[in-house]
């Protein structure tokens, strides 16, 4: 079932005027015949609209910094912000030898009224002293929450002084929740600081071996990154660091030595990918390890990049073996899923990534969108020059990097690069829209009002989004799959992940519990029954 222009018009008409004007730009029906179809993204949500979006702090501390396990992440602000980002995101981390793991801890300066009035700098400094004394971390981050910017605490100065006092790195992130329009601003703020102060500070001068890579924008939710690493290592890749799932400051410092950066979640990490390329010459490749076919394609693209017959051979061996192992299992599950439709509305990359995996199960995505992506995540990076900066994007300072005089080196000739770019998404992301069919709906920053309306119109069989929608949708009798937390399952990436996902989605369809929604007395006529002989009615 596809939506008609008329139905969409009717929906817009139900909105208040100003909102209607705004939302028209964020909603479109895919039409491949048009030369280009622009969508508005990364602009303000209209107040009062029930959005799924969070804030810059969530994007900075919650998404990008939080998973770095060997740093102590201090939240400077009142208690709530730190509390909510404690352990709830499922970014798993293992303790390694010589690498500490502070994942079970939450640190908050717990600002009180007097700190708001007189400033919280002293308290922040005192907390740093206490945690250094107690935990001896190698490095510390400070993330500011809403009131901090307003009261004028200079967290950079506090960080600098603490760094001198303790001789360890202390980084300050001004990611107050009101910056930008969503988590996206926080990704950018985190990227900038990691790039400026962490990446490239390690001592390594050379890659630790052949085929050295970093995995960027992979957060190890439910163990995704471990599954990806499993087959990458088997093929022969050397993983220098992951940003930031199960990531370590110790490793990220040496990110400069890798020969290729893989970019999984483009939205949250593309700034780092670009800047590493400028500063150290490392190209980046857009990959997608969600879904069997996307995983295979990503592996082949990587082999194409390194262009080594040995590596290609090993890649194909692993692909063949894994495929033979998982495909039959997935096919069994697909029988339950076949011919169904899905809505897929997730953060900044999964709205796209999961469509392929759904398709492998015979599920067509009929509505997709992102909570906090930018136009390039929809339309492809070629639109970047056309994206207008506005008041909200301007307040995220960007900074320029220069090629590093000693460490910059080209991984291949410019000609070879150009040649490769024709074959693989090197330094490029073509966006989500390309993959969608004509007639599909693309919605940016989907809100609750539209969720209800679109479900009525399109009646999807499954709705993939987050916790805030989940039970809304389930109450309608429609299975809902959390694609931020995987409903506490996973991994969903790679070959094993695809099997897990197929299992979980079929379970959502096959659960007998759906059969009990209507009580029997709602469908049976009320008879004035008499008890017959033998106790039968």
């Amino acid at each position: 079932m596809a939506i008609t222009e008329k139905e969409l018009e009717e929906l817009f008409e139900k909105m208040p005027k100003k909102m209607e004007k705004n939302r028209r730009k964020h909603i479109m029906i895919k039409n491949g015949e048009l030369e280009s179809q622009a969508i508005e993204a990364n602009t303000r949500t209209v107040p009062g609209v029930i959005t799924n979006r969070g804030c810059a702090y969530a994007g900075c501390k919650g998404v990008v910094l939080g998973p770095i396990k060997d740093m102590i992440h201090i939240t400077h602000g009142p208690i709530g912000c730190a509390f909510y980002t404690w352990g709830a995101r499922r970014n798993k981390a293992k303790t390694e030898e010589n690498v500490k793991n502070f994942m079970n801890y939450a640190f908050s300066t717990n600002m009180q009224e007097k700190d708001i009035v007189f400033g919280g700098e002293k308290k922040l400094a005192a907390m740093i002293d206490e945690v250094v004394d107690m935990f001896h971390p190698n490095a510390i981050t400070i993330s500011a929450t809403c009131p901090v910017g307003l009261i004028g605490d200079d967290i950079n100065a506090v960080a600098k002084a603490a760094q001198e006092r303790h001789g360890i790195q202390v980084l300050a992130f001004s990611c107050e929740g009101y910056k930008g329009v969503s988590q996206s601003a926080g990704h950018h703020i985190a990227n900038n600081n990691l790039m400026a102060n962490v990446i490239g500070t390690g001592d390594m001068e050379k890659a630790p071996g052949k085929y050295s890579i970093n995995i960027l924008g992979e957060y190890n939710i439910g163990g995704d990154s471990w599954e990806i690493e499993r087959f990458l290592k088997e093929i022969g890749y050397n993983i220098v660091c992951v940003m930031t799932g199960d990531g370590a400051w110790e490793h990220i410092r040496n990110a400069h030595v890798a020969d290729l950066n893989l970019v999984q979640c483009h939205r949250s990490i593309n700034y780092i990918a670009e800047k590493i390329q400028t500063k150290y010459g490392t190209p980046w490749l857009k990959v997608n390890f969600v879904g069997v076919q996307s995983t295979i394609k990503s592996l082949r693209d990587m082999a194409t990049y390194f262009d080594d017959p040995e590596l290609t051979k090993k890649t194909e061996e692993v692909i063949e073996r894994e495929l033979a192992r998982v495909q039959p299992v997935i096919d069994q599950y697909a029988k339950i899923c076949n011919n169904k439709t899905a809505f897929c509305f997730v953060g900044g990359s999964r709205g796209h990534h999961y469509q392929g995996l759904f398709r492998e199960l015979g599920i067509e995505t009929v509505l997709a969108g992102y909570e906090f992506a930018h136009r390039d995540d929809y339309e492809g990076r070629e639109v970047i020059p056309d994206i207008k900066t506005d008041a909200d994007s301007k307040n995220i300072p960007d900074f320029q990097v220069e090629p590093d005089p000693s460490r910059f080196h080209l991984r291949m000739s410019p000609e070879k690069m150009e040649e490769l770019k024709q074959k693989i998404p090197l330094g490029d992301y073509a966006g989500m829209n390309l993959e969608m069919k004509d007639g599909d709906l693309i919605v940016d920053d989907l809100n609750h009002f539209e969720t209800e309306e679109f479900i009525k119109l399109l009646q999807p069989d499954i709705f993939a989004s987050g916790i805030k929608d989940k039970y809304v949708v389930q109450k309608m009798g429609i299975p809902a799959k959390q694609l931020h937390s995987y409903d506490y399952s996973g991994p969903y990436a790679g070959f094993n992940g695809a099997v897990n996902f197929a299992r979980d989605v079929s379970m959502a369809f096959a659960s007998p519990t759906w059969n009990y929604i209507t009580p029997p007395w709602k469908t049976a006529p009320l008879l004035e029954g008499e008890f017959g002989e033998g106790g039968k009615a």
Binding site: I50, C55, F83, N110, F449, E452
Partner: protein, 462 residues
């Protein structure tokens, strides 16, 4: 698990928190507002707060938690959020059509100093619709304070005294408890034959049934008419002084309704106290139905006493819940030796009867010395436990890290519980609730004994 927590306790004087045992005001306010029928809570601040609060409440209740936000950007935080709020009010009524919109503030709007009442006065509010607010700055108190502030706002905005003579009805303020507890309280009141107005009442809202249809405003919740009528009640029963007493006091001030402040009725003694208070105020006899339940509770307490007598317990969580739990485990003959809350301990800013005093009084009469602290964190609780081990830990989900690190049986009670389902439907208040708590405690201890028993000591009958 929590590998770096040192056993040695060094005084931390910075007032900062490591592994919190509290969260911020707005989430409590949002929860309280959901206890009004047809109400949409609104978070006046940037989107993140609202998103976090909805996420955590949704995880705890596994039910839709709807709330809107003023979506502040940098501009709003410089020039004030009045314009955002006006737009939000307009859009909320057009798009989501609630009967009531309950605004709470956030750190951001409080720091800016937005004047909410002034904005409400200037806003376009459709005929017959209601907008009210509570100030909930998170740099004071905790989520319990936020719950208390929103509950109090229900009184200051709505309660009216319109009858000469008070009506034969009770205002029942249940405090920050689950809808399962609220249902149980209502059942007890009905068994006593009493008329009551419970507020807030989240039963039927955050434990709504599966019907195949999503209702943005489910059947439950106290109505605005009922809230108005609270001014005519004969008496107010405030359960849990940290979450309920401020509203009871406001009612007394505004409408001269006297109040009785009691513990959250967790356990036998607190439930006895509640029934005695009702009996005394309304000359209503306690029916056999409840007396029988009480008798059953005492029966099982006695039957199984050797399972838990003298066992050492650590308890943490919200002050009203912790006070009730402490009293209950004492009545079981257990030894609560570490008792902690993250919420600051003075009763709503007054220094009258602090959390610590209340707990220490109970412990003293039982002859137990213990670590007791308000305004503290789970790092400190863990350190206490490292120095003086316990047989059982009781608290919210976040206790699971400590329970695993120290290999202690763990009973989940309180808010939030994110890793177990169904709990919010099941009461811990009243005699039945006490029986359920006792079963959880008993099973946790016995499961552990089974797990640890050598084959030759493995018992069939226990």
């Amino acid at each position: 698990m929590l590998d770096y927590t040192p056993k040695e306790i060094k005084k931390r004087s910075s007032g900062t928190v490591i592994n919190p045992a509290k969260t911020c005001q707005p989430i409590g306010a949002m929860y309280a507002a959901l206890g009004i029928h047809g109400c949409l809570p609104h978070s006046h601040g940037s989107q993140g707060c609202c998103s976090f609060h909805r996420m955590h409440l949704t995880r705890h209740f596994r039910d839709p938690i709807m709330a809107s936000t003023s979506s502040f950007t940098e501009g709003a935080s410089v020039f004030g959020g009045g314009a955002n709020l006006k737009t939000a009010i307009k859009n909320v009524f057009t798009l989501y059509n609630p009967d009531v919109m309950a605004i709470h503030t956030t750190c951001l709007s409080e720091t800016i100093g937005d004047d909410i009442p002034a904005t409400i006065r200037q806003a376009e509010i459709p005929e017959g619709k209601i907008v009210f607010h509570a100030n909930t700055p998170s740099y004071q108190g905790s989520h319990i304070t936020g719950f208390s502030n929103m509950t109090k706002a229900m009184v200051t905005y709505f309660s009216e005294k319109t009858t000469e003579q008070p009506k034969e009805q009770t205002n029942l303020i249940p405090g920050f408890v689950n809808p399962g507890d609220m249902r149980e309280l209502k059942r007890i009141f009905e068994a006593m034959g009493l008329t009551y107005i419970m507020f807030p009442d989240t039963s039927g809202v955050v434990d709504s049934p599966m019907t195949g249809k999503f209702e943005m405003y489910p059947k439950g919740g106290v109505t605005i008419d009922q809230l108005k009528d609270t001014g005519n009640s004969k008496i107010t029963l405030s359960l849990g002084r940290f979450s309920s007493e401020a509203a009871a006091e406001a009612l007394k001030k505004k409408c001269k309704v006297p109040f009785i402040s009691l513990k959250t009725p967790i356990g036998i003694k607190a439930t006895d106290d509640m029934l005695m208070a009702l009996r005394g105020s309304f000359a209503a006899e306690v029916p056999y139905e409840l007396e029988e339940e009480r008798g059953q509770l005492v029966d099982v307490m006695t039957d199984a006493h050797f399972h838990f007598h003298n066992k050492k317990v650590a308890i943490f969580g919200d002050p009203d819940i912790v006070a009730g739990l402490t009293e209950f485990v004492l009545s079981l003959g257990m030894k609560p030796i570490h008792i902690l809350t993250g919420t600051p301990g003075g009763a709503l800013g007054s220094k009258m009867y602090s959390f610590e005093d209340e707990i220490n009084d109970m412990l003293q009469s039982a002859g137990i010395t213990a670590n007791v602290k308000a305004d503290s964190d789970l790092l400190e609780l863990h350190q206490w436990i490292k120095n003086q081990p316990v047989d059982l830990l009781i608290g919210n989900t976040y206790g699971k890290y400590i329970a695993k690190a120290e290999d202690i049986p763990f009973v989940r009670v309180g808010f939030p519980i994110l890793d177990r389902a169904i709990h919010s439907y099941m009461p811990i208040v009243g005699y039945r609730g006490a029986m359920r708590l006792l079963e959880m405690i008993d099973n946790a201890l016995l499961d552990r004994a089974d797990r640890d028993a050598a084959d030759e000591d493995f018992e069939l009958v226990m």
